[in-house]
């Protein structure tokens, strides 16, 4: 095909006129999904998530116990006001506009240590989102200490230049001595309320040192702290030669004033003179030549050499901050009622030069839903991952474990009253995308996850088999308790003698507190016997349609609900003692004993057997 020459030129010129650089803010406006703002529902969660993450990170840096306040208030039909306030170190006034009004601005991007936020796009993206949906500027209040003034800002982002626009800045009086408050208003819905609360609950589980107060319209929720120890802020470490990429290396080289050898020793962890020399030799570069003078080809050779030379793994402890087995278990117990909780923190490890460690916990039974897939709580650097569970390496590892070997049923994922918590902590958690919803499948991390799950699986199995054994023993004891009286009665009938007292035998078999209920000739009889060698203190709850009036021993409390009477007796039985109560009635309903460990008591409702 032939075009007239001039026409081609014109087209190219036209195109050239249209080509221009786009600002980061503009780019993200068009790619909201990458940041977790793909829908109004999700936007609200992402915003709170980013703000709470920042608040917790800030408190951690200042080593204070986080007190975070979250407010969500419906303003108009679809406009919501979101306020997140913390007691962190605050932000100096000069920095506030940049922190909230410039994308990709942050203190942690260039640091190598575990932190929640990394790229510095989270909260400013929320500011941008508010600007795009409602046009209402974001209000930020911050104070850095008791002898400093608090400042209030009205902020926006200039979408074209990615620069903050300060609409208002004033000194105000603020009741907090230090901290930051951000107030954002944007269009959204509360369709994801459940998920939002879930996020806060999960956050509270892995941040047991934080107190999070939530006001959601008129409802309030409090996620109380269970640990009074502020967590030590992970320290930044220098990059490891195996975890560096060409862009970063080029930037570092350009900024360096040292020789190549010194550059390697000074800027990288675990690199000594000997290692640096070896790298230079491999890259065919003189260790003495200035680092900034390397040609692009030499730079590439140096990178190659840095990967090839054997370097010890980076130090992992200082830069990582595991929650710890105790606190994970405490955190879970606080938010979930379960019969069994076990947590494990694996030793730290390294992938491509990045230190990481995996922590996990398994919870079983209690009030967890008895059917369906196990509840999976995924965390990366103490941040709950709420979306894209299916795409996450953590989910893949859970599905990859053969749970049947641990007496847990499984259909792809394990099923039953089971909760699995996995926390991946790293100086660089590998996510599948910028919205940070799913951990990428890195073999080293997957291996650690699988190992920790197997360890916990074994613990769970031990618990389950012990529980089954106890249950079996109890069933047996109960059965014996119910059969012996019948046997005694029948035998007495055969030999034509009075029914013998079976209490001594029962005691021999049980060595427990035995509480029985039976009806005879229009009377309900309750009987408690202490066959143990210690005094027993407990309460008997007899719930049935009988009101228990005229009982031979008055119940301590009688309450009625829907025609069922709960009759409660509080007892202290010395060893060997017997207690009885008798009232007119027909029985039925249920019998319960509380206040005594279940393995020390046998409850027998003889009529219902």
């Amino acid at each position: 095909m032939h075009y007239p020459r001039c026409a081609v030129t014109t087209l190219a010129e036209d195109l050239a006129r249209q080509q221009r650089s786009i600002s980061v803010a503009e780019f993200f406006e068009k790619n909201k999904h990458l940041l977790g703002f793909d829908s109004p529902t999700r936007g609200i969660i992402t915003t709170i998530k980013e703000a709470v993450d920042n608040a917790l990170d800030a408190c951690e840096e200042a080593t204070v116990l986080p007190d975070v306040f979250v407010l969500i208030k419906k303003m108009e039909s679809d406009v919501f006001r979101i306020v997140v306030e913390d007691n962190g170190p605050g932000i100096v006034p000069e920095q506030v506009p940049f922190v909230f009004g410039k994308l990709l601005y942050g203190s942690r991007f260039h640091q190598i240590r575990q932190s929640r936020g990394q790229q510095g796009i989270g909260i400013s993206a929320a500011v941008l989102y508010a600007q795009l949906t409602t046009g209402i500027p974001t209000i930020v209040i911050s104070r850095t200490g008791p002898d400093q003034k608090a400042y209030r800002f009205l902020l926006q982002i200039n979408i074209k230049t990615n620069e903050p626009e300060v609409l208002e800045k004033e000194e105000i009086a603020w009741d907090r001595t230090h901290g930051t408050r951000v107030q954002i208003e944007f269009k959204s819905t509360m369709a994801a309320k459940k998920r939002l609360l879930e996020y806060l609950k999960y956050t509270s589980v892995v941040n047991p040192h934080a107190r999070i107060r939530v006001e959601l319209d008129d409802e309030t929720y409090l996620f109380e702290r269970v640990s009074d120890e502020a967590i030590a802020c992970p320290q930044a470490i220098k990059p490891h030669p195996h975890g560096i990429e060409i862009g970063q290396l080029m930037r570092m080289l350009a900024a360096s004033e040292e020789s190549c050898g010194d550059f390697l020793v000074e800027n990288f962890t675990r690199v000594g003179k000997k290692t640096a020399d070896e790298m230079c030799r491999k890259a065919e570069i003189s260790p003495g030549s200035p680092a900034s003078s390397l040609t692009p080809v030499q730079q590439k050779r140096l990178l190659q050499a840095m990967q090839e030379v054997k370097v010890p793994a980076p130090p992992t402890l200082a830069c990582l901050s595991p929650i710890g087995e105790d606190l994970i278990a405490k955190g879970l117990e606080k938010e979930f009622q379960m019969d069994f909780v076990k947590a494990r923190t694996r030793a730290s490890s390294v992938y491509s030069g990045h230190p990481f460690l995996v922590e996990a916990a398994i919870g079983y039974g209690g009030k967890l839903p008895p059917d369906g897939n196990a509840q999976i709580l995924r965390f990366a650097n103490r941040v709950p991952l709420l979306y894209q569970q299916g795409a996450c390496a953590i989910t893949g590892c859970i599905a990859g474990v053969s749970w049947k070997a641990y007496n847990v049923s499984q259909s792809t994922l394990p099923t039953g009253p089971l909760l699995i918590l996995i926390h991946v902590a790293s100086t660089n958690v590998p996510f599948t995308s910028e919205s940070k919803d799913a951990v990428a499948a890195i073999p080293e991390i997957e291996r650690e996850i699988t190992l920790v799950l197997q360890e916990l699986g074994r613990e769970l199995k031990t618990y389950l088999s012990r529980r089954d054994k106890n249950r079996l023993q109890e069933d047996r004891a109960r059965a014996v308790c119910a059969i012996i009286p019948e046997l005694a009665a029948k035998v007495a009938e055969i030999v034509d003698l009075p029914v013998p007292d079976i209490a001594p035998i029962e005691g021999k078999i049980m060595r427990k507190v035995v509480v029985k209920r039976y009806t005879r000739e229009g009377k309900v009889i309750l009987e408690g016997r202490n066959y143990t060698s210690h005094p027993a203190e407990f309460s008997v709850y007899d719930i049935s349609p009988d009101n228990g009036q005229g009982a031979s021993m008055e119940p301590a409390i009688v309450t009625e609900l829907d025609g069922e009477f709960t009759k409660m007796w509080k007892l202290t039985l010395p060893p060997g003692d017997v207690w009885t109560a008798e009232y007119t009635g027909t029985g039925g309903g249920t019998l319960e004993v509380r206040g005594i460990p279940p393995e020390q008591v046998v409850v027998v409702d003889i009529d219902s057997q």
């Binding site: 012996i484 019948e486 046997l487 009665a489 035998v491 055969i494 013998p500 079976i502 035998i505």
Partner: protein, 378 residues
């Protein structure tokens, strides 16, 4: 059932005790089991019973009596576990029921007992095997047969035909019966309780116990009982207790030789073994039921070969059964070893009615006379 619920019926039992001597003994032995538990409970001990372990491992050949008996292994069932407590409870219900049955002079079948237990709530039997097994336990504990408890088996009694006179105590009085003259074509039906029979007299030289009904009828039709002064007993496959007890008594009381005529396969040899040596299930009564002097007529593997009988090839199971018989002490004789070895070599088995291939009279005219002569009976 709770005590005091049926005061009337209890009073009624109190006034009645079994009249018959045997029933009195049975009553007393059953009640003594309950009494033992009663004493245990009163002393604060957990009720229990101990009895021989009823497994293959605890069956031993008693050289003196030449029958299979339970060994020395005892197992204790104590009410300390739910399972055993339930077993004891069921046993107490059965004793209670049997006691009433003895007093009321009634009887029931094992199957009826199983259904009666429906009303026993927790103590009801889950399957008939369970109630049968429990009755066997009671037989062991009381050293009595279940007939003494007035319990009948479900199965029909086998029949007997030949020059034998007996007296049976029936519900309508004593009846003297001649097992050739007073009975129909099929013979006299052995009652479930052979103890109710008195053996009066006979005019026979031996007894032939026959596995199949076809061969039994053939011998009657051919007049074998008259020609050879023989008492014919139909085993009906694996013989019932009453049949074995009858054979034992005829052998014991009249001193007549007992001969067993079955098919020529490993399963039939076991029929012979149970007549001669007893069975595991009833090892506690072997001395009453087994006839150690009983001899095997055939069909022998040598007969299959010598008479060239119509035959089938052995199945895998047949071969396995034969092999296990080779190591079974009941077949530990040169005779059985050579017969079984031969059968394995031939890889064939024949039914007793296969003799019909040589004519309907062959078995009575040729085979049996020749075999009986060989065995020194004729």
């Amino acid at each position: 059932m709770k005590s005091g619920e049926f005061p009337l019926s209890r009073l009624w039992w109190w006034t009645l005790t079994p009249s018959n001597e045997m029933d009195k003994k049975t009553h007393q032995r059953l009640v003594s089991i309950a009494m033992k538990w009663y004493e245990q409970i009163r002393e604060g001990a957990i009720p229990s019973i101990s009895m021989p372990t009823r497994t293959k491992q605890n069956i031993a050949f008693d050289d003196e009596s030449e029958v299979w008996k339970y060994g020395d292994k005892e197992s204790v069932r104590s009410a300390a576990t739910a399972k055993s407590a339930l077993h004891l409870l069921k046993m107490s219900y059965v004793i209670w029921f049997l006691k009433a049955q003895l007093i009321e002079k009634r009887s029931s079948t094992l199957r009826e007992l199983y259904y009666i237990s429906e009303g026993w709530k927790r103590a009801k039997f889950s399957a008939q095997d369970e109630s049968n097994f429990l009755i066997e336990d009671l037989e062991i504990l009381t050293d009595l047969q279940r007939e003494a408890f007035h319990l009948r088996p479900e199965e029909d009694g086998a029949t007997i035909f030949g020059p034998l006179r007996i007296r049976e105590m029936t519900r309508r009085g004593d009846r003297a019966i001649h097992c050739q003259d007073d009975v129909g074509e099929a013979g006299y039906q052995i009652p479930s309780n052979v103890e109710n029979i008195e053996l009066l007299e006979h005019d026979a030289d031996f007894v032939i116990a026959i596995e199949t009904g076809g061969m039994y009828a053939r011998l009657i039709e051919n007049g074998f009982d008259q020609d050879h002064r023989a008492i014919l007993v139909h085993l009906k496959g694996q013989p019932a207790r009453s049949t074995r007890r009858m054979l034992h008594r005829i052998n014991e009381e009249f001193g007549l030789p007992v001969l067993v005529f079955t098919d020529g396969d490993p399963w039939s040899y076991r029929i012979y073994a149970s007549v001669a040596y007893g069975a595991i299930k009833s090892a506690h009564m072997s001395e009453l039921l087994a006839t150690p002097r009983a001899q095997f007529i055939g069909v022998q593997p040598t007969d299959i070969r010598d008479y060239n009988l119509p035959s089938d090839t052995l199945t895998e199971k047949d071969v396995a059964a034969l092999q296990s018989e080779l190591s079974d002490p009941r077949f530990a004789s040169d005779y059985w070893k050579s017969q079984i070895d031969l059968q394995l070599k031939l890889n064939l088995k024949s039914e007793q009615q296969a003799f019909a291939a040589r004519g309907l009279d062959f078995v009575t005219q040729e085979y049996l006379p020749r075999r009986l002569t060989e065995m020194g009976i004729l």
